[in-house]
């Protein structure tokens, strides 16, 4: 018998955890001598009050959907991929190579190739930790963290020594040609007569991200591979019994995970910056962890959580712009969300379970 109904587990617990995180965040804002209510208002108006704000919110959300899905897919195989950051960096490299060194007649073709490049590079970066976990039992958490650092060094080397245009001082690649420019929401919506801020970076990648959510959902709950991934995630000995190769699933799940993280690059590198810069990922790989935790590793949950974090991110940027509250406030909020939804889960769950048990006993009596 379950201790409590499924809806409580899926909806109630994250919700309560989120509320706790919000309360603590408000206390933090109070603590630094600011007005939480005013801060919230500023964040809401900055992130949701205009198509410009929405454009940024959705742009960030797109990043987080990719990295959140990446973490979620690995979670289903009980693999904790902390390497989204590095995989996304390498994805950026893949996108830049595709966009810079191949002449594309049209952005649609370029996008397909860039997706392939991003996913390939991201997956490749996940492949070594995956292999080491599957074959040598090296803890994937540590190896993926290490690979984040190594990815930063690789990107650094590529930008400084290889891709930096002659005479440029920035460690950044050349600007991508006009032909690979992805339509922004402004350009997509204009034909329908919907006005959308021209300056906001949300772009066609958002559609790719939503498609990725749907595909991942189908993968996990509708395909045979998803069945195997979930089975392996729940029980490794069970998988061995059923003839599901742990090696194969670990590799495939991590390659998909890395590929998804890498795909983020079509948004931030191809869609927004249109060149490759250092630290283009801006920690989105780590935020993916919080997004996946909040979303309970379900693509729909990831979608909602990504939008929430997109809002936090854009709202936080606005706060930093118009008040003296540093942008790090959102790092704190993020930390609290991870803490409450991820690590202190049981603090909420234990009393709730007792409550539901008591309710049931009462009903039975």
């Amino acid at each position: 018998m379950d201790k409590m109904p499924k809806w409580a587990d899926v909806v109630l617990i994250p919700l309560i955890s989120l509320i706790l995180a919000a309360i603590l965040s408000a206390l933090v804002i109070l603590g630094i001598g600011e007005d939480p209510w005013a801060a919230v208002k500023l964040m809401v108006s900055g992130a949701l009050g205009s198509t410009y704000g929405w454009g940024y919110t959705l742009y960030y959300a797109t990043n987080f959907m990719f990295t959140g899905l990446a973490v979620a897919v690995a979670f289903h195989a009980r693999l904790f991929n902390i390497g989204g950051e590095g995989q996304a960096m390498l994805g950026g490299l893949g996108v830049a190579l595709v966009c810079l060194y191949i002449p594309w007649p049209h952005w649609t073709l370029a996008l397909i190739a860039a997706c392939a490049g991003a996913a390939l590079f991201g997956a490749a970066w996940a492949a070594i930790p995956a292999y080491l976990q599957a074959r040598r039992g090296s803890h994937i958490v540590i190896t993926t963290i290490m690979f984040n650092f190594i990815a930063a060094a690789v990107l650094n080397y590529m930008l400084v020594n290889v891709m930096r245009p002659q005479g440029s001082m920035d460690p950044a690649s050349a600007r991508f040609p006009e032909a690979v420019h992805l339509p922004t929401l402004h350009e997509i919506l204009a034909p329908f007569g919907i006005g959308f801020s021209k300056a906001a970076p949300a772009n066609f990648s958002l559609i790719v991200a939503v498609a990725a959510c749907i595909l991942v959902w189908a993968l996990i709950w509708r395909t045979r591979l998803g069945y195997e991934i979930r089975a392996y995630g729940h029980s490794e000995t069970g998988a061995r019994y059923a003839g599901i190769s742990p090696y194969r699933i670990t590799m495939i799940a991590m390659l998909i995970s890395g590929g998804l993280a890498g795909l983020m690059a079509i948004n931030n590198v191809m869609g927004e910056a249109e060149r490759l810069v250092l630290n283009a990922t801006e920690g989105a790989g780590f935020i993916g962890i919080a997004v996946a935790l909040m979303g309970r590793s379900h693509p729909f949950g990831v979608f909602l959580a990504a939008i929430l974090f997109g809002f936090l991110y854009q709202g936080g940027a606005e706060l930093a712009l118009w008040t003296s509250i540093p942008r790090e406030l959102i790092v704190v909020i993020q930390a609290l969300v991870i803490l409450f939804t991820g690590a202190l889960d049981n603090m909420v769950r234990m009393p709730l379970e007792r409550l539901f048990l008591r309710l049931r006993k009462g009903r039975e009596a």
């Binding site: 379950d2 201790k3 045979r224 069945y227 729940h234 029980s235 069970g238 019994y241 059923a242 379970e353």
Partner: protein
């Protein structure tokens, strides 16, 4: 009259929705050996763990030598003179015997004097009870019998005068078990009180003074051993008359289905578990493998089921099976018409978080009838198949949407057995088919296995329950230390002979 050594009154304990102990009262006289029997999951271990302060009771009180005693933790239990040897040993594997013995009972902050004192005490205990172990051996290098001695020494070192042993003989050979009982009698003569949990009625009859029976979390009876019989105890245990024999016609073996030659298995740690065995199973025959747990039977079954690599030769219907690499996994075995009811349904046979209908495909998820296109699963087909199996095997509750963990052990096992037997395999591998299953389900499952045999299929059965081996098998092989000690026909042998074989005493010498 002296006060009872232990008196429990109205003990209740729930694990979430599971009521493990319900209002249990029991009283144990000092200087006696008190047995507790009951089916799996009856709540025996829970009750003893409460007495030892490992769990906290929801209600009830404990009296030790007549005095009401609070036992909030094991510290308090130890102080009250209670020692316990758990069903699953609580030893630190990479510590030495000595370190394990002093853990929690050190004198002072520095180790050196404690270790010296323990070494001295150990020598004395060894003299007194013949419990010899090397104090400097590392636990993981010791056999289970030795490890159990360490557990007993741990209790004695803490000067326990009440000793609880939870299923101590499950992992012992009959000879080791005999020695254990000799030690227990010595302890009893010294005036110590002993509580012995076991499944084996014979041990109860031989060793105990009084015996209590538990069923479904409740204490159903306490009787003097001298005034009862095994039949009566069995009835008390399950609540109705038990027929332990299975009705079955004599076997009519056909062609050999499974032929094993020179099979060797080396496990992950590099230890050789199966040391070259030869065995043949014919069509229409059930071969049972008896043996104390940990003598290589599990590994044998896992090799056949494609769960681990091996060397040697295995032929199925005359053609060799791959024993390593690509063609040697569970998928390949299923394709070769080998079905496998694994020993541990919860860790292997089922995914506890999956719906019943998802579990019905488990292992057979590549089956074409469960597919829709090259990638997708045909969930609708799967669900209707599940409903059919639930009906045929009388799985309760009859709801395919429940997750596996929401079924009781017996019904979980029925799902696994239904899945495997309904495949109508050429060879059925069965490990511990009735472990933790209630008697009604046992009869049902046994019947299904026999029916498969009667349909001309080969069955290889591994069980640690000698009774089960006797009642199902057409031929019995005994495994000891990775070797097959010999084969017997059930009609031509008895528990005593098998017990010797299980202890490694070969047939000729016996």
């Amino acid at each position: 009259m002296t006060a009872p050594a232990i008196e429990l009154k109205g003990i209740s304990k729930a694990f979430g929705p599971v009521q493990a102990n319900k209002d249990i009262s029991i009283s144990v006289a000092p200087g006696t050996i008190h047995g507790i029997i009951g089916e799996n999951g009856a709540g025996k271990s829970t009750l003893m763990s409460i007495l030892y302060g490992f769990y906290k009771a929801d209600a009830g009180e404990i009296r030790i030598h007549g005095e009401k005693t609070e036992i909030p933790d094991s510290q308090a239990a130890i102080a009250a003179g209670i020692g316990m040897v758990f069903q699953h040993f609580k030893l630190v594997e990479n510590f030495t015997v000595l370190e394990n013995i002093i853990l929690g009972a050190e004198d002072g902050g520095l180790l050196r004097p404690s270790l010296a004192k323990a070494r001295q005490t150990l020598i004395e205990l060894e003299k007194e009870y013949g419990l010899n172990v090397d104090p400097d051996a590392v636990i993981e290098d010791l056999g289970v019998g030795m490890q159990q001695r360490v557990e007993i020494l741990k209790a004695l070192y803490r000067q326990a005068d009440i000793l609880i042993l939870d299923e101590p003989t499950g992992v012992l050979t009959p000879a080791e078990a005999d020695q254990l009982f000799r030690i227990l009698h010595r302890l009893k003569e010294e005036g110590k009180t002993i509580i012995l949990i076991t499944h084996k009625l014979r041990e109860i009859m031989e060793a105990t003074d009084t015996v209590s029976v538990m069923r479904r979390g409740q204490m159903t009876a306490t009787v003097k051993t001298a005034e009862t019989s095994p039949e009566q105890l069995a009835e008390l245990m399950v609540g109705r008359k038990v027929l332990l024999r299975v009705d079955k016609a004599p076997a009519s073996p056909g062609a050999p289905i499974l032929e094993i030659e020179g099979l060797r298995v080396v496990d992950e740690d590099g230890v050789e578990r199966v040391k070259g065995i030869d065995l043949t199973v014919h069509a229409g025959e059930i071969v049972g493998i008896a043996g104390v747990a940990g003598n290589g039977q599990s590994e044998l079954l896992e090799v056949l089921g494609g769960m681990r690599p091996a060397t040697g030769t295995i032929r199925l219907n005359g053609s060799p099976l791959a024993l390593d690499g690509a063609g040697a996994d569970g998928q390949a075995r299923r394709a070769q018409r080998i079905a496998h009811v694994p020993e541990d349904r919860q860790r292997e046979g089922l995914i506890m978080e999956f719906h019943a209908w998802e579990n019905v495909a488990f292992g057979y998820h590549h089956d074409p009838s469960y597919q829709r296109g090259p990638l997708l699963m045909n969930n609708a087909a799967l669900r209707s198949d599940t409903d059919a199996k639930i009906e045929k095997f009388d799985v309760r509750p009859a709801d395919g949407w429940l997750t596996a963990k929401n079924f009781s052990g017996g019904n979980q096992q029925k799902i696994v057995v239904a899945r495997e037997i309904e495949r109508n395999p050429d060879l059925l591998l069965v490990g511990q088919p009735t472990r933790g299953v209630d008697i009604g389900a046992i009869e049902f499952i046994h019947k299904q296995i026999v029916a498969l045999r009667d349909a001309g299929k080969a069955v290889l059965l591994v069980s640690v329950e000698l009774e089960e081996i006797f009642s199902l098998s057409d031929r019995i092989a005994v495994m000891f230390d990775g070797h097959l000690m010999g084969e017997r026909l059930p009609a031509e042998t008895d528990e005593k002979e098998l017990g010797l074989l299980m202890a490694g005493v070969s047939g000729e010498a016996a």
